[in-house]
């Protein structure tokens, strides 16, 4: 180890500390500029923060596996906190069947059936919010409220106790980091939430037409193992709520903080899909994931031994000036294609089209009803070991006349 790490730039930054998570951008720049691969002394892991290296690590599943966990913990040596995900924490060949089933179920062509209903739901939600006030917390009233209104029903889980959904996702995404306070403190109270999530995944608790029931039907057809069905439903509940909340909040923040770009959107609605992609690029709701080397692996001429954790900074890659001009700008003239906010390669977010549909339905409803949106105070971050989101975002809107 000594001979190896001495040749690689090292850093004692803690990417999971409050300080780093409050403002990761300057730290990202530090890591990017130290070198293509940086050794993080605090966690004894290699880290990559430049676009090319992150893109390569995301796509090269042969050298950089997910099956040993996509957090700091190495499942080859440590017990995971829950049975590993059959999607996120699996590699080919075991990853094939669950991914094929979800990929088909969540494809844009299949989601078209939901689009009309979700647009109506978004219109209804925005009307309700505007009827109450024109100053409100955009995180609570919109970014959280909308996914919670449409997604659990789309999966088909029970109507009771859905308040467990956000804390579950928050905990799961914290758990990819080290066992800091965000994990160990919340672990004390998360038990009932984990239990509730587990119960929602059982066939008898799922409505007959939702994604959940369709996953079970795939098991009936022999496409996946029946004993895997509840874990695949669990993946939807883990990865499908907090992430979209964070993505929508990123979009709302971007348009509220950039009135000129909001005006461009009002003038040209065809820019909407780009606005969401650009917000995902800029904010990178999922900031980090780990991989584990399957064999001695060379990244940018740095030799990383087998069975080592590699930390990928998606957020830093999405602002790498080697790849993006003026990367800190939210710019609707930019083509954000190729950002790694949804990952890349065979683990690329299988729910990305749901995220897009939700975000676009909500923003469209807002554009239909609101002339301007502005921040009325300093928004407050919600700190999570993996997600970059907001706790609150006070805004004022002017209704269209």
């Amino acid at each position: 180890m000594t001979t190896l790490t001495s040749r690689i730039p090292a850093s004692d930054l803690d990417p999971f500390s409050d300080d780093f998570l409050e403002d990761p951008l300057t730290h990202h720049e530090t890591l990017r500029e130290l070198g293509p691969v940086v050794y993080l002394t605090r966690y004894d892991v290699h880290a990559i923060a430049r676009y090319d290296e992150v893109h390569r690590a995301l796509t090269d599943w042969q050298s950089l596996q997910s099956g040993a966990g996509v957090g700091l913990s190495n499942f080859n040596h440590e017990e995971p906190w829950r049975p590993p995900s059959l999607l996120l924490e699996a590699d080919p060949p075991r990853h094939d069947a669950p991914r094929a089933v979800l990929g088909e179920l969540l494809s844009p062509r299949r989601l078209r059936a939901l689009e009309g209903g979700w647009r109506a739901d978004a219109a209804e939600l925005v009307d309700e919010v505007l009827a109450r006030a024109t100053e409100f917390d955009a995180v609570h009233e919109l970014a959280e409220a909308f996914p919670l209104r449409v997604f659990p029903d789309a999966v088909g889980i029970g109507k009771e106790d859905r308040h467990h959904l956000l804390p579950y996702g928050d905990f799961a995404f914290n758990a990819f980091g080290p066992r800091n306070d965000r994990v160990s403190e919340r672990a004390k109270t998360i038990g009932p939430t984990i239990e509730w999530i587990g119960a929602q995944c059982q066939r008898e608790n799922l409505s007959p037409t939702g994604f959940g029931a369709q996953i079970w039907e795939a098991a009936d057809r022999g496409e996946i193992r029946p004993e895997h069905a509840p874990f695949i439903v669990r993946s939807l509940l883990t990865a499908g709520v907090d992430t979209t909340v964070t993505g929508i909040a990123a979009l709302l923040h971007a348009v509220a903080a950039h009135p000129d770009q909001w005006d461009r959107l009002r003038a040209d609605r065809t820019l909407l899909p780009r606005a969401f992609e650009e917000a995902v690029r800029l904010e990178s709701p999922v900031q980090t994931f780990f991989r584990t080397t399957t064999t001695e692996t060379v990244i940018a001429d740095v030799v990383i031994p087998a069975d080592r954790k590699v930390l990928m900074f998606l957020g830093a890659a999405n602002r790498d000036p080697r790849r993006w001009d003026d990367p800190a700008r939210f710019d609707l003239s930019r083509d954000p294609s190729g950002h790694v906010g949804f990952g890349m390669g065979l683990h690329q977010c299988v729910g990305q089209h749901i995220a897009r549909l939700e975000a676009l339905a909500l923003l469209e409803a807002l554009l239909d009803r609101v002339e301007s949106i502005e921040l009325t105070g300093i928004p407050r971050r919600h700190l999570n070991n993996t997600l970059r989101g907001w706790e609150s975002m006070p805004v004022r809107v002017t209704r269209s006349v």
Binding site: S63, R109, E223, I224, T295, V298, I299, S337, G338
Partner: protein, 327 residues
């Protein structure tokens, strides 16, 4: 470079997509040639799983489907094995007689209509060149520790591709050749147990017989893969140029032979959002107004390709000289 890890494929492959170069050809049985295919720059090819096939576009535009039979842990290489069919429609003859190492071929996909579902027990049945999708299935079943057996049927041993490699699996592999034992009694192989999944590929007559077994009580029906002439659309040429029109603005441009629709549109100020840039993630899905797309994605089913309501401009091209998109 390390001694133990293969060199990683280059990063961010350049625009030259949709073509592969023949890097090796090898006779693997009487009348069967295996082609090793790589991108011209050696970068990663799209991921695939056992049962997948690719479209190969020959220099004259003829398109044929071939199952991938290589090793997906080698991300930069595809392998296909092609039987020379003298009475066929000419694609295999061209590949055998005219395609040499260094030649460039168009490709589309991979697509997979023959996915290997997880199971504890499998019966694989291959008739002749139908062994090609079965070979990676066997490797995978073996890797996962499944209980599997293979019935490999053919005219004669010398015509059976990969028979030598497969013999390493010993008693799991049963080879039955017409010139040794006469016509095989297929019915004897019908599994009695419901937990045996049957995967079969080969001539229609064989697959008809296997499908006629139906499902064992409580089990699932056999899965079969057929390559029929009906499934192959005629194509213009691997990389012919064509015009693309963005219907909403009326703007148009020519898509050159070495660029994608996305790149060409970008040149005239029309950005199509993409992500994977290889036809697997769905991000750039675009509705087609008129013209027949030359589908090269991994996403659409045969029926969806035929209907052509939408296409994926990050990889797909046009069969017609003019393609109008809802942009």
């Amino acid at each position: 470079m390390s001694a133990t890890a293969p060199a990683a494929p280059p990063l961010n492959p350049p625009i030259a997509r949709g073509v592969v170069t023949v890097t090796e050809r090898r006779v693997v049985a009487e009348g069967v040639v295996e082609f090793e295919l790589r991108r011209p720059d050696g970068s990663r090819l799209p991921d695939w799983a056992p049962g997948a096939h690719i479209d190969i576009v020959l220099p004259d535009g003829t398109t044929r489907q071939y199952s991938l039979c290589g090793d997906r842990w080698d991300a930069a290489t595809y392998r296909i094995a092609v039987l020379r069919e003298s009475a066929g429609r000419g694609g295999s003859i061209t590949l055998h007689d005219s395609v040499r190492v260094g030649d460039v071929l168009g490709f589309g996909g991979p697509r997979n209509n023959f996915r290997l579902a997880p199971a504890d027990r499998y019966l694989f049945i291959a008739g002749g060149i139908g062994i090609t999708p079965i070979v990676p299935m066997i490797r995978q079943a073996d890797l996962l520790g499944a209980d599997w057996s293979l019935l490999y049927l053919g005219r004669s041993r010398s015509a059976l591709a990969y028979a030598q490699e497969l013999s390493a699996f010993g008693g799991r592999v049963s080879v039955r050749c017409a010139d040794e034992v006469g016509r095989s009694e297929l019915a004897e192989w019908r599994p009695a147990d419901a937990d045996v999944r049957v995967y079969a590929c080969g001539p229609s007559r064989l697959l008809d017989a296997v499908e006629a077994w139906g499902a064992a009580p409580g089990g699932l029906a056999p899965k079969t893969e057929r390559f029929t002439a009906a499934a192959t659309a005629a194509r213009s040429a691997p990389r012919a140029a064509f015009d693309v029109v963005a219907a909403r603005s009326g703007r148009s441009t020519t898509v050159g032979q070495d660029e994608t629709v996305v790149t060409a549109l970008r040149r005239i100020g029309i950005d199509v959002l993409t992500s994977c840039a290889q036809g697997v993630c769905c991000t750039c899905e675009t509705d087609v107004v008129s013209g027949r797309p030359d589908h090269r994605d991994s996403l659409l089913s045969d029926a969806e390709q035929a209907a052509s309501a939408c296409m994926f401009p990050c990889v797909s091209r046009s069969l017609d000289s003019r393609l109008v998109l809802d942009l």
